[in-house]
Amino acid sequence: MKLIIAIIQPYKLEEVKEELYKADVNLLTVSEVLGHGRQKGVTEVYRGARETGNLLRKIRLEIAVNDNFLEPTIKAIAKGAKTGETGDGKIFVLDLKECIRIRTEERGAIAIG
């Protein structure tokens, strides 16, 4: 079992979701986060004052998958999130020790899907 954490551009979320559905991955957690990016942020202007701080808005996805779903999920995220420019984000893959479905207390691979 693996836990995939991906940081993507906020405006790419819809496309990533689309790709994930196509790959039959329907379970994910999404949160809005701020992070230090390598690229310059979106410029905002308030009464003439420019704001280009490098804390950028990103979307963080967390997806727990069984090993056979790992590659399709990574491909789907990359396909949906890629623009080819800096700032497209990162995908992290972690070993997942355990997964428990609260309703039934099932454990392991069966609890993920």
Partner: protein
């Protein structure tokens, strides 16, 4: 002869009607996704700026000027000759400029209503040019035909007390055209976006309801019994339509929703608008109860069936509600309410219904055609729709470099 009471009421009403545009901004703004709320508020506010100027420079003259024909002419360019003495053809007891500024507020809110159809995907520059052209080539002529002295629909006997045709059907048809030609927003298939701030929708509805007393009550152009009639039936229709929408939701097995009550109340206000000065209170209840049925069908059945993306239901509420109101005026109008009006079908004058129907037809054809032409022109020269990336990022950031909400301080 200027009457102080009349003047005070009309000026107060003008202020009430102005407040409807920011009210509409919140009504619509609450319905869009949070990345687009500023764009909607901005579109409504900039219309207040741009059309206020257009109106005093040319709009009022084109709409209400003394010339006969397509437009009222440019004799009153820059309010030349529109002074502080009454102009008896329109309102004999208030300064001419009081009538002018009251009408200005109608010219402002009408194009603002169309925003509901193209929300979340229109380029700001294109929106500005579209709005200015639309006000000049659609609103002003139609206003002249229906309300202007010598306007041909007015001479025909069409009844439109406060703008069911000129404001609501007009904006609603334009909305339908824009929704169709502009196309659907991206990524709608999997999930139709939920309104991002329902309390804003409620706030906007409250401001609209409040402002509508000026819209309809002020259209009596005097502080008199007719204004009171309009005030009472306006409140009655809004109330019955809000209730009726909630009951429809409930009876269909769902829960009654605040969004439903708000949609119904606005639909009721739209429907009573043309009738407010011609019908009494029982017809107002019927008009209100039924408008929610028609609008509910329009937004929950007809829209999905044809697949046009009238994002915030500008057509489904304003045009459908407006047409019902215009036709209901032909059914329920009574000279007992307003001796200067006419009788409707139920008071022995079926011809009035046909006149109302004809007026709806003329508006549909004229507004539909010219809106399409204006869209095409703007699209050829600067492009109307934002690119996919801007649409995905939201119009607040890409069109205005601003965000409505922060995550951290």
């Amino acid at each position: 002869m200027i009457n102080a009471g009349d003047t005070a009421w009309v000026l107060m009403s003008a202020a009430l009607v102005l407040l409807m545009t920011p009210g509409l901004a919140f009504f619509y703004g609450g319905m869009v996704r949070r990345k687009n709320i500023l764009s909607v508020l901005m579109q409504c506010f900039i219309i207040m700026c741009v059309l206020s100027l257009q109106w005093v420079l040319i709009g009022y003259s084109l709409s209400f000027g003394p010339a006969k024909g397509f437009w009222g002419g440019l004799q009153w360019f820059g309010l030349n000759g529109v002074g502080l003495a009454p102009y008896a053809d329109y309102a004999g007891t208030i300064p001419h400029q009081a009538f002018m500024i009251f009408q200005a507020m109608f010219a402002i809110i009408t194009p603002a209503l169309i925003i509901g159809a193209f929300a979340e995907r229109m380029k700001f520059s294109a929106f500005l040019i579209f709005t200015l052209l639309w006000a000049t080539f659609v609103y002003d002529p139609l206003c002249h035909w229906v309300w202007g002295m010598g306007g041909w629909l007015r001479n025909l006997g069409a009844l439109d007390f406060a703008g069911g045709t000129v404001v609501h059907i007009n904006a609603g048809i334009a909305a339908l055209v824009m929704a169709i030609v502009l196309g659907r927003r991206n990524n709608l298939e999997k999930n139709v976006p939920a309104p991002h701030n329902m309390p804003f929708v409620v706030l906007g509805t409250a401001l609209l309801w409040f402002g509508w007393f000026g819209f309809n009550g002020g259209s009596a152009l005097a502080a008199n019994g007719l204004a009171v009639n309009a005030f009472v039936v306006t409140n009655t229709a809004a109330a019955s339509a809000g209730l009726s929408w909630a009951l429809i939701e409930w009876m269909r097995g769902g829960k009654p929703t605040i969004f439903g009550v708000c949609s119904g109340a606005v639909a009721g206000l739209v429907a009573i608008t043309p009738a407010a000065g011609f019908v009494s209170v029982v017809p107002a209840i019927i008009i209100g109860l039924l408008v929610s049925v028609f609008c509910f069908i329009a937004v929950t059945a007809i829209k999905p069936l044809f697949g046009y993306d009238d994002s915030l239901d500008a057509f489904g509420v304003h045009c459908v509600g407006g047409i019902w109101g215009a036709l209901a005026t032909g059914l329920f109008a009574s000279k007992l309410v307003n001796s200067a009006g006419a009788n409707g079908v139920f008071f022995g004058n079926p011809k009035q219904f046909l006149i109302q129907l004809f007026t709806v037809g003329v508006t549909t054809v004229y507004t539909g055609t010219v809106t399409f032409i204006i869209y095409k022109l703007v699209d050829i020269f600067i492009g109307v729709r934002v690119d996919d990336k801007s649409e995905a990022m939201g119009l607040d950031l890409t069109q205005h470099c601003e965000r409505a909400y922060t995550i951290l301080e």
